[in-house]
Symmetry: C2
DNA sequence: ATCATGCGGGTCAAATTTAGGCCCATGATT
DNA sequence: AATCATGGGCCTAAATTTGACCCGCATGAT
């Protein structure tokens, strides 16, 4: 497949753009369906007329269905999206990018989704889908799965196909809830995921940043204690890598303190710990549940993060710990290599 | 690769034409190089201006080099042609066509080159190249290779890469020379091929259609006798399938007799025998060298024929004998299935 | 039930791209 | 020395694409 992609780039480079365009259109219709022409044009920043022409072709191919209430992707189109994703991976030359990251960070497996979450909302769904796929491939009955929160992680259960045979699996949040929107909290995600998997779940409602006395008393509650014990035994971790500032703000950290830890060079956060770009811990907050120290005891760690802006956080996290799988997107991957090597700079602006 | 082709046809069907066009252009430049714009436009029946635009793109991709004396294909372009051929095979859906022929005629291996020899001279070169490849893959030292004549067969030695280690191989013509242009005679082809392979060769200069007394006396000449004995021991046969009328005419058969055998339904000829479309012998001429009766004793038979017009001859031959490999082109293959099954009619006119 | 919104589709002129056709200087071949 | 085919330039016409509308109509909210 990679060779075919290279061949096409040589013989007809224009079609590469064409195929990518149609992929983006199809993907966005799928994400927002049913959606109208004008709305879609706004989302992907096209003008209406050309978009219309492209969609007409897609409709003629039976990939898109047009109704009064809007356009949607046909079942054939859905299948085409999936197959296209793999192909575009090679078309954009992401294969060498993935290998590069694997080498530089000693990662076993790097998965890159074409696109950039910062620019295209639908990419997060792709990341979630990849995460779901990977989780399924690693999951065995009896496993304890810990998940973290965030917008990307929230996509994972949505993309998880209903499964069965995982009655003995337990899904837990990695830590206590954050003060964020409920649907992005690890608790919600854990519950949703467990439901999709037909698995059990335990939730942990403990606010972060408690005083040590209050923390101690809550942690010693029998129910809470049991959940925490379960979390500590997690064998699979689905971890959404978070940026330092973003996470600090989400947790309601004082503006002054945020400034302080940023001055210390914090770029990434994980389980209440803040890391600088070297992967060293520069700040720690009180927290219950998993700790970064537990990472090395977890059999399978699936790290997820997308968007060029997340690259520094990814870099920091990878330097601290080598996950089993890194799932990211093109924007983050290219930026990551850029800030890491400085050498292989092949960023591309428009997509 | 086949799946990628199907995918591309779905998402961007226009690219099929585009890729095929550029392939044809590249192939024809390669065949006639160095050649000018206008001449090339005449050959492939394009108007000059669009051809110019396409070639400009090919040049920008570094596939074509333009000099004062004409255009030629770069080394990279040459490589691209080869890789494109395989890809276009799937792009045109020739994979199922080949399988179909294999099934219907019980052929072990069918190779189809995209294009139609009737319309495009360069296709014969492709056929020759495939024949050369196949011959090499079957050839072992000690083999006796018999070849027949014709325009397609004449391309085989030209496309044969210089080889060595075949000192013990002997190349012979399948039969005595025909009264045709010397470079298309089996004798010439056998000699050229032997030279390319670094092999030995024996030639046989005996006119066809001799009276029986004359024939007998010539055949008993010691030198001739030895060559004929060698031919009879051939282990590999490269056979260009011939149409009945064409071959009869090439041999200088009387116009009246030609009409007669055609009335008997003759559509194909091989080694002096004429077959109807059922594969039955309807006429036989005196001839020295191989006979159709010897076919079954030959280990490897590579049959070659291209062009939609050859389809009836191919059909007749395949019904008489199942060659090890059939090498043909798209035009012949599709027509063959059309006249055979009547069902799977997916002919296409323009290419 | 009514209304407003967003939908697909139609239309038409402007802008851009592509095609046609010709000439020209040049370098190779005869 | 002369002829020929070559690539490149150029300009006009044609075709296509783009931009900017408007319209009737379902649908969902009021």
């Amino acid at each position: 497949m990679e060779q075919v992609a290279e061949l096409l780039k040589k013989i007809a480079p224009e079609i590469v753009r064409e195929v990518e365009n149609r992929y983006t259109i199809l993907q966005n219709i799928y994400f927002y369906q049913p959606i109208g022409r004008r709305a879609l044009a706004g989302i992907i920043s096209w003008s209406e007329r050309p978009l219309r022409s492209e969609i007409k072709k897609l409709e003629e191919q039976g990939l898109v269905e047009i109704e009064q209430k809007g356009m949607k992707v046909s079942v054939e189109g859905e299948d085409t999206i999936n197959r296209l994703e793999d192909f575009i991976f090679y078309l954009r030359g992401l294969s060498p990018v993935a290998r590069n990251i694997e080498e530089k960070f000693g990662c076993r497996h790097v998965i890159i989704v074409p696109g950039d979450s910062d620019k295209d909302e639908t990419i997060k769904k792709q990341l979630g889908r990849e995460a779901a796929r990977n989780l399924l491939s690693f999951l065995k009955n009896g496993d304890i799965v810990a998940v973290t929160g965030g917008t990307t992680m929230a996509q994972v259960p949505h993309s998880m196909p209903p499964a069965s045979g995982f009655n003995e699996v337990v899904v837990v949040p990695g830590r206590g809830g954050l003060g964020e929107r409920v649907e992005l909290q690890s608790n919600s995600i854990a519950a949703e995921l467990a439901q999709k998997l037909g698995a059990q779940y335990r939730l942990l409602y403990v606010p972060d940043n408690l005083g040590s006395e209050a923390m101690e008393s809550i942690v010693n509650e029998p129910g809470i204690k049991e959940v925490i014990a379960t979390i500590r035994q997690a064998s699979i971790l689905l971890h959404g890598i978070g940026g330092a500032e973003e996470m600090a703000r989400r947790r309601g950290m004082a503006e002054q303190q945020i400034e302080e830890i940023l001055k210390k060079g914090a770029v990434a956060e994980a389980f209440g710990y803040y890391f600088n770009s070297e992967g060293s811990i520069v700040h720690a907050t009180t927290s219950v549940g998993l700790s970064v120290m537990d990472l090395k005891n977890i059999r399978t760690v699936i790290a997820i993060a997308g968007g060029a802006s997340k690259a520094p956080a990814i870099q920091a996290f990878l330097r601290y710990h080598r996950p089993t799988v890194l799932i990211t997107d093109e924007g983050a991957a290219r930026r990551l290599l850029y800030i890491e090597g400085g050498k292989r700079n092949d960023e591309q602006k428009d997509s």
